[in-house]
């Protein structure tokens, strides 16, 4: 049996806000082992929704 203490940094967006690193968007972020909290910032939910819209391509 092994016993490990795992440290995970969790970021939680404030109410009405969404966290983003410019590419991904979410309310809850669990940072990868080498990712940095500074890579993420808050934007409003409305801004996040707008940025996440993807236009349909035309055939």
């Amino acid at each position: 049996m092994t016993k490990e203490t795992v440290k995970i940094i969790k970021l939680t967006a404030s109410e009405g806000m969404t966290l983003t690193n410019g590419e991904a968007f979410g309310k809850t972020i669990y940072l990868g082992a080498n990712d940095k909290a500074e890579s993420w910032h808050e934007i409003t939910d409305a801004e996040a929704e707008e940025l996440q819209k993807v236009e349909e391509l035309e055939v």
């Binding site: 690193n21 991904a24 809850t28 669990y30 940072l31 990868g32 391509l57 055939v59």
Partner: protein, 326 residues
């Protein structure tokens, strides 16, 4: 019935307005009256010609004396007849009206099935180049492709190049994987170099296994591949670690089941898929590349899915240097 025909100045003049009913082998004879040009000719032959399925066919019958038995004709509304003899040019044809018999526009069930098969072969042999078609870009693109029409005859083998791009974009085939299984036809994307929008906006419930090994050959990755697709199941994605995922699963709100093989090496998002099963989520986690020492990538789930992750799963994801987002 005996039909009288005069030969005058190399013209066949049919007396009266006789009508021949198709399908009769011995019901009709023709008796010719020849002008003085034919007095010293040798044996004479009557040529009968008619249209059958768009092609003009003919039958030659030797006269016995001045009379000939008319051969049975089918599915035609006009019979042409002329006479020729050695040493004399042939006559211009005379025309006799025909009416179709009960036998003309009917066929046995086996004949019907044979006809259907012939029509099926005629289309798919051409559309798939007798099994040698190399690329299927947009081959089944659009709402006109439905279950009724989608019946490929040969394996769908996508060769190198722009071969899978938009292949099933917007199609209305209800279950592509099942349709192919029933037909005994496989979709082989092993060499396919372009899978962008391959199932974009398609209405299929289940997508068959896709080998994406060469999908990056043209720099596009699985971009928009399943964009707004209604699929519940993607049987399997075999992915190389350099494959990129841009809006790959955007709008896949029905997606429940997905199995990975290979290595997921770049950021990937299932943000619009709240119904992903536990097994599917685990498959994603199991195939994340270990990015220790490299730049972190992001794994995005829908909030519903993310909220069900165990601490162990979160630890596994982050330990591989993937940032979990939901």
């Amino acid at each position: 019935m005996d039909i009288k025909i005069k030969i005058v100045n190399k013209h066949c003049i049919v007396e009266g307005d006789p009508v021949i009913v198709c399908g009769n082998k011995a019901g009709y004879t023709m008796t010719f009256t020849f002008d003085e040009e034919w007095v010293h000719t040798g044996p004479k032959t009557a040529r009968f010609s008619w249209l059958q399925k768009g092609a003009r066919v003919y039958r030659d019958v030797d006269l016995v004396g001045d009379t000939v038995t008319v051969p049975a004709v089918y599915k035609t509304e006009e019979l042409r007849v002329g006479v020729y003899a050695e040493g004399l040019e042939s006559t211009a044809p005379g025309r006799v009206r025909c009416v179709k018999s009960i036998l003309c526009d009917t066929c046995t069930p086996s004949e019907f099935e044979a006809g259907k098969q012939a029509e099926y072969d005629a289309f798919w042999d051409v559309y798939q180049d007798n099994g040698k078609r190399l690329q299927y870009q947009r081959a089944f693109c659009g709402p006109g492709w439905t279950d009724t029409i989608f019946k490929p005859k040969y394996d769908l083998i996508l060769y190198a190049g722009y071969t899978g791009k938009e292949m099933f974009w917007g199609s209305r085939i209800s279950n592509i994987a099942e349709s192919l299984e029933k037909l005994g036809v496989r979709l082989d994307t092993t060499l396919c170099g372009h899978m962008e929008s391959m199932f974009n906006s398609s209405l299929t419930e289940r997508i068959p296994e896709l080998n994406c090994t060469h999908a990056t050959d043209y720099g596009f990755g699985l971009h928009y591949t399943f964009f707004n697709a209604t699929a519940k199941t993607i049987d399997k994605l075999i992915v190389p670690e350099n494959l990129t995922y841009i809006s790959t699963f955007y709008g896949c709100s029905n997606l429940e089941n997905i199995t990975f093989e290979g290595t997921i090496g770049n950021s990937i998002s299932f943000a619009n898929s709240p119904l992903l099963t536990i097994e599917s989520v685990q498959s994603v986690i199991d195939h994340l590349k270990d990015l220790t020492g490299a730049t972190a990538q992001t794994l995005t789930f829908h909030a519903t899915v993310g909220g069900k992750l165990t601490d162990a799963q979160k630890a596994t994801i982050t330990a591989k240097n993937w940032t979990l987002v939901y």
